[in-house]
Amino acid sequence: MKILEFLSDPIIGIENWIVQLLENWGVAPEWQTFIVYLIGAAILGTGALLFTLILIWAERKIIGRLQDRLGPNRVGPWGIFQPVADMLKIFIKEHIIPDEVDPIPYHLAPIISVASVLLLWSVVPFSDSVRGSNLNVALLFILGVGGLGELGVILAGWGSNNKYSMLAAFRASAQMISYEVPMAIVLLTSVILSGSMALGDIVKSQNIAYIFFLPLGAFIFFIASIAENGRAPFDLAEAESELVAGFNVEYSGLKFGMFYVADFLRAFTSAVIFSSIFLGGWRGPGAEQIPILGFVYLLIKSVIVWFLGVWIRGSLPRFRVDQMMAITWKFLTPLALALFIVVAFVTKLIEGTNQWLQVLIFLVINVALYVVGFAIVRKCEKEKERKVVSTKKRALAQPTNPFTQSETGG
């Protein structure tokens, strides 16, 4: 029975064992917590970074299939060891530092990029008992750490002493600041529903996952988090055709590898946060009795959300800069604000009624808001005057060309 008990919650078991061990060695209690947290943080960070290897392989494989290619298929079965080979290659590559870089920002930027992603993992609840910290302002923390990621991009762009990376940094910071607004407002609506800013409490209060209460909120959050991560179709900061490679042009070897890892890990991390806030995180049948199941549920939910992101990345072309700005300021932000106000009122109005009734009311409100918002956008788009982009009308070689339909040709 002992072994089953251990297997149902191995991490707490190991933690208790280490605490016991330290106590036998005569370590003071506050140092015990310090050491245990230090070990936990080291394991979590390393685990997350190693997990990225699988993520990179899976993403390349999926994108390959979406684009009708095979993807990596040479190293190991199904190319599984491709990221390991890539990693080794990146480790032994020459590290070139261009002339006249600004040394501190240049060297600091990749570290900040990776650190800002790993920091997010400290507030995610993995099961009923296992989490880094049930920080009582976890949602604010998530937004604040997002700002640190921004800083990494700006530092890289500035420090490289290259006009392309500078332009990319401008684009990236404009994009990230803008998309943080709807994201923050949507996070506030989930705070209204749960009455708590701690991620652990938000997960616990989801007897019914919040995606049924706030499908529109989840939609806005999902789009905003893709844009925050700077992935296609919002990868304006890495537009190869316009900016060579974006803010990381001047980076090579391991430093480029760090940006690369941060990019892939951030996609999965925001999927984890999405599933914690909207899909009920570790909750699922039997997860409270057997905490290890919580990991499995969280992993499954996150992988589904992450796959959606990869799917979008493989299917949609990049937005223009003005389109990217219009999406957040003219569509997502007003919609999020309207949703926030309505949810704040309605939650108080129907407090204490049947939970399924509440879900129904919220669903209707969300769908109605979406339809109204979309109708307004469509109407504005129709009324907008469009310049006709074309060349002057000129004599055609064959005036009765069956393919020429408009007056201006083409």
């Binding site: 501190i104 049930n134 604040g144 700002g147 800083l151 708590s196 409490d201």
Partner: protein, 175 residues
């Protein structure tokens, strides 16, 4: 010494040093970066005092918004790639003297007052309670409702002013 004390000493040293760098470095962009380190240090000190809300808001507002916009402004407005100005002028010696005198008076007065010698009591709030108490205090008419509303009014005024400045004047290109 407990781990908390060690962290506190390290963080406050870093905060003070980086604050000195902010006002003494020659490149204004580097000064802005050191300002971020200073703000981060203040956030960590808030966290050590168990004021997690203030720590998070410090990071979110000061680093996530204000510092980034500051850097943005520096990048956009001046030709800083070649900017190499000294931040201090000729009267720095006398200013240092005045600051020193002020600091001596300030510290000697503070250290004899009762405020500095009170030991800190840990909060009895659990989890969300501290934030809920904070929110109620802000919106309670007997608490800080008036200053809170006044601050929001001020921000609204700033917002309207900003929109007015950015708006196209009559006879501009659009309209």
């Amino acid at each position: 010494m407990t781990p908390l004390q060690i962290v506190f000493i390290l963080v406050s040293l870093v905060t003070i040093l980086s604050a000195i760098f902010v006002v003494s470095l020659r490149k204004i962009f580097h000064a802005a970066l050191w300002l971020i380190v200073t703000l981060m240090g203040v956030a960590i000190i808030f966290a050590l005092l168990e004021a997690s809300f203030f720590a998070a808001v410090q990071i979110l507002v000061y680093i996530g918004a204000i510092a980034i916009i500051l850097i943005f402004a520096i990048m956009l407005t001046r030709n800083i790639m070649s900017d190499d100005e000294i931040q201090i002028n000729r009267s720095w010696g006398i200013v240092m003297l005045l600051v020193l005198i002020f600091a001596v008076i300030f510290i000697s007065q503070l250290s004899s007052s009762a405020v500095i010698s009170t030991t800190l009591v840990p909060l009895e709030f659990q989890g969300q309670e501290s934030i809920i108490a904070f929110g109620e205090g802000l919106l309670d008419p007997a608490g800080y409702a008036l200053p809170f509303e006044l601050a929001s009014l001020l921000l609204l005024g700033a917002l309207v002013g900003g929109v007015y400045i950015a708006m196209d004047k009559k006879g501009g290109e659009n309209k």
